[in-house]
């Protein structure tokens, strides 16, 4: 099963993901208010955090919905809100620990990321490759490589200083 992964060390906050998501959802505007993915920029901390729905295996929003408007897509595993069934009670919004469900003030229904039927526009527009749509295994592989490089550097560095020591 593929998930959207986010690498905070690569995100520059260009917001192409937000623009694309907003247009995908509204079909009329790239304004951020329509976007289901949000990049938070903490300028004093020099930190950027892009985040959208994680499609939890035990999805509290899905469990709590009294209208049974939230279900899981069989193909993509996405947790999806059926806006025709949504009663606008906002329980899902309260249940989500990540603040990843929005409320559509016009149609008075909850809205969230639906993985664009397996072709998430945010990922396709992430020009710095901070977002990826991938298997957990491939994410882990990349994370491991990054750490391995650091370990390798440390080993090399240590060996070098040992060599210097031995020279004395």
């Amino acid at each position: 099963m593929k998930i959207i992964t986010m690498d905070t060390t690569k995100c520059v906050g260009c917001r192409n993901c937000e623009l694309a998501c907003a247009y995908m959802n509204s079909n009329t505007s790239c304004e951020r208010t329509y976007s289901k993915i949000r990049v938070n920029h903490y300028i004093d901390e020099q930190t950027l955090i892009p985040l959208t729905c994680l499609h939890c295996e035990e999805a509290w929003c899905l469990n709590v919905c009294p209208a049974a408007a939230i279900s899981r897509d069989e193909n993509t595993g996405a947790v999806i809100i059926d806006s025709d069934k949504c009663a606008g009670c906002k329980m899902c919004i309260l249940a989500c620990p990540y603040g990843n469900i929005q409320f559509d003030e016009k149609d008075l229904v909850s809205t969230k990321c639906n993985l664009c039927e397996g072709n998430p526009r945010c990922v396709g527009h992430c020009v710095g490759a901070a977002l990826n749509y991938e298997d957990v295994e491939s994410f882990n592989e990349r994370a491991r490589k990054k750490v391995d490089r650091k370990i390798m550097d440390a080993i090399k560095h240590q060996c070098k200083s040992m060599e210097v020591e031995n020279d004395k």
Binding site: L19, H41, H125, G128
Partner: protein, 688 residues
Amino acid sequence: MTNKKVVKTTCRMCGTLCGIDAHIENNKVVHIEGNKDNILNKGRLCIKGSSAVTWLNHPDRIYKPLKKNDQGEFEEIELEQAMDEIAEKLMELQKKYAPNAIGVWKGEGIDFAQQEELARRWIHSVGSPNYFSNDTQCFASRYLSFNLVYGCWPQADYENSKMIINWGTNAPVSHSYWMQQINEGREKGATLVVIDTRYTDIARQADIYIQIKPGTDAALAWGIMREMIRRDEIDHEFIDNFTVGFEQLKAYAEQFTFEKVYEITGVQGKDITRIVDAIAKARPSVSSWAGTGLEHQTNGVNSIRAVTMIDALSGSVDRKGGMKTPKGLGMRGLTIYDEKPLLELKPVGADRYPVLYERRQECHTLMLMDQIISEKPYPIKGLVMTAANPVLTNANSNKVEEALSKLDLLVVKDLFITETGKMADYILPAASYLEREEIFSNSAKQAAFITGKYIDNGLQTEYELFKGLADRMGSGEYFQWKNDHEVNEWLLEPTGYTVADLKTNPSGFIFGEYEYEKHRVKASNGEKPFNTPSGKVELFSQYLVEKGIKGLDGIPEYHDPSYMETKNTEYPFLLITGARVQKYFHGRYRNIPQLYKSDPHGYLEMHPEDAKELGVNNNDRIKISSRVGSLETYARVMHEKEIMRGVVQHTHGYAKENINRLTYDDVTDPISGFPALKSVQIKIEKID
């Protein structure tokens, strides 16, 4: 029956050239996304790329030529009639005044490859040397700078780099896929240094971010070089064998002590130490890039030369992870400068900016405006423009409007009626990038890309425009090919490849494996290692000395930017213009509704303390003025980290808040002739 296809082609919403999958149904593009197989952008696209669907299907697009009638209104006419009348009027002007009374102007909206060369070919074929383009405000200065040092247009080898230094350039907004390459390098351990007056998108991931006073980059570069030399963190073997002018460079660098650099740039000595520490670890895999932040200054060329010399001293030239000096595909060119140089007809600006003309054959667009108005040294009466909108994008818009309104004939070819189009006598509808066949080549990746006519709206291509005019004006012999496909086959001939070969891989046809350190091979074969006059990397340029440009030597000296030389109490703020935003490209795409809604007007970015002193809040209406013009715009109060005090920024390309009403056309770099678009002195008033 629906005719559906998905074509792999190249995006031309900006000059970055990402690969796209264009979904076409019944001769209409319905969806665009990144081509995952493309070797450059690997499936990722910025918002402009996918929004092209709306742009290309826009109800305001023009499909019929327009002619302005006596009441100043546009009327539709047939293409043949338009072409006949335009050709006839151009010939009349040449007869009445002189062959050089007409010119052609290529805008960024088309490309830099054969479309540009077709314009150059046509204007020379009809006997005028006056070719103009957007390049004299973007790109040409960098080209000259790099070319003076390396004898080529280099490319930063970001993916393999151990240290990346970005000066006044913001990859995620301006060259989107470069950000992937930079991140790839960083993932493998590269240090990222960003030097910019503005805390840009890319600065947010920098290991070292340096906020520098506008236009002082060369002083910092000299400070870094002095420290590299002092600590002996330079590549002696490369310097001794492959450069000229090191002794002059070393002597000039001496004066740039930490104290002096701090005084000029506001950058502290400890930051120079941090940068040189990183260079010491990373060399010879240091790659630097400089953007318009540097070239829009009076000392632009020399700043960029100085910056890239850091890479040269570190021995990173054409080394893995350094500055690639690529070999091209070896296509033919379409220009006829050897056959018809027409220098005796005084190309506009060639006298005043000889380096620009000799090395780029670019006439000077700012001097053109003066010349149209004054008719000195000779009158220019007719202009054919394709994909250009100088009313929005050239410095000093008021003068641009005055000049263009004085022309006897202005022809504008575009997809829409632009601000410049409104001033035209004729508007010709343009074919888009999905409606013509062209070749793009990326020498850093040793790859070529071909596009095709995937949609046919019966619109005239660039080739058909110039061939049509040439045929009517008696120079048809230069345009013997039937269409752009035949042109492309001819261009490719010496490479041994054909269009069909390129089509075998529209995601990147690889024509060779990149070879590093070509200068060593060349040297051992007895060839010139670099394509400069000396054959070496030129830290000192004898060529520039011989040009005798006042106040300049062969070393890329630091000179104070114009705003420092003339302190100005009437206009106390320093305006930088031209920082791009994601959604737009220069004057284009404000007519894409979804983008426009997210960014509906121009605004002046300012420091919170400056805003406080002016009594201005976010989104307040303000009036801003320079000595050449004024306009009303909106205030955007930034975080204190994002912009320096006393410095403000306004993006260009908004018709209502056209910032070029404030930019000067008479403060220029003496080598490139580039206007100092990032050194404009202004005042700000709150509108109550």
